[in-house]
Symmetry: C2
Subunit: 196 residues, 2 copies
DNA sequence: GACAATGTATACCGATCGGTTTATCTTGAT
DNA sequence: ATCAAGATAAACCGATCGGTATACATTGTC
């Protein structure tokens, strides 16, 4: 059984990833300050010593979680972006369609980077930088798509779509109600208006 | 000098308001969990006993601060809304103009209700309710103005403007950079498109 | 079977948290 | 001048925080 355990261990994520994923779900649900390291190590099934071996401070773990957040997002986006048979416009609308569903999920608690900035703004530069990088990356993705729609006004279109996405996210986080209007249709209108 | 002190005391806000205002600025800058009651009482120039007389728990103070946040916002909005010589459209654009300046301010840290929801979602019902009420109130104000522009589609127009406002707020909070596009012009475009 | 490495469990640390209590001082009304 | 009210300052409380240190169990390698 030792051998089989080893085989599994090679496939299952290492402890470091376990910790990040446990912290990720706890931070998202309960916030950063409100989540203690004891709870994280308990949920990760890992001792405190191991946790502090991989992450010398809690803030280091937070930075790692924010990076993980982007990687998870990236994996999802790549599934959409790699579809060769779809136009950039359709890809964008697909992103908005999925986002609309997320926002209606009872377990949606807003963008982790926005929440982190609300708790650590002016307090921890590394965390702030992570958040800023995340948002810049988000709009870069959108811009890479809007370039195919209207290369001359790609920046403007990407930014307008981004504002729509962020606005809906914030509103959904607070009001927790279903969107009173069709977000994807809104995105489609904006794209329509910027299509030459 | 005792008499002059008394005279001033009658005009200056009572201790309760001092506490709320001190907590307001601290919560906005440093977040809720990260701000201890000791710092609040120190900044308010008030003893701990007095603070706990007016607010039995810290969460009670947070709710009061969120209500205060709405009242401050309301006072500002009333200055705009009461101008009889301006159209509702101009009033909306004025709101967006001011918002754009706020967002570029170095001391802007996002919407307090959004930040509070990020820290207390699923933890404190009273705080959550305060945040939800705040957002509902915001969109109600917008709807009261869009009714004058297009009564048939007032809800839709108000919501679109609200999404724009919230989206810009979130983006500004994280990226801390100047808006790359003219937000008021965007609002104007939206209104234009919904004007019959 | 021995050994070093690694992980776990847990006790512990000082600091700080939200909140209470006590003791002192100021104040306004009589 | 006195006295009760209400404020302050500060000690204090138990709990929890992030983080460290210790003791024990498990593991792969030789």
């Amino acid at each position: 059984m030792v051998r089989s355990k080893n085989g599994e261990a090679a496939l299952e994520p290492p402890k470091k990833l376990q910790i990040i994923e446990a912290a990720f779900s706890l931070f998202r649900k309960n916030g950063f300050y409100a989540t203690g390291v004891d709870l994280i190590m308990q949920k990760a099934g890992v001792s405190k010593r191991t946790l502090y071996k991989y992450f010398p401070t809690k803030n280091d773990l937070i930075v790692a979680v924010l990076n993980h957040y982007r990687i998870v997002y990236e994996k999802y986006l790549n599934q959409i972006l790699k579809q060769k048979d779809k136009t950039s416009r359709r890809k964008i609308l697909e992103i908005f369609d999925d986002a609309e569903q997320w926002f209606e999920d009872i377990n949606f608690h807003g963008c982790l980077a926005v929440n982190a900035m609300g708790e650590f703004s002016g307090k921890n530069q590394a965390i702030e930088d992570s958040c800023i990088r995340f948002k810049r990356w988000e709009i870069d993705i959108l811009r890479s798509l809007t370039k195919d729609i209207n290369s001359a006004r790609a920046d403007e279109l990407a930014y307008k779509l981004f504002v729509l996405l962020e606005g809906m996210s914030s509103i959904a986080q607070v009001t927790k109600g279903a969107c009173p209007f069709d977000m994807t249709a809104m995105a489609n209108e904006i794209i329509e208006r910027h299509t030459p």
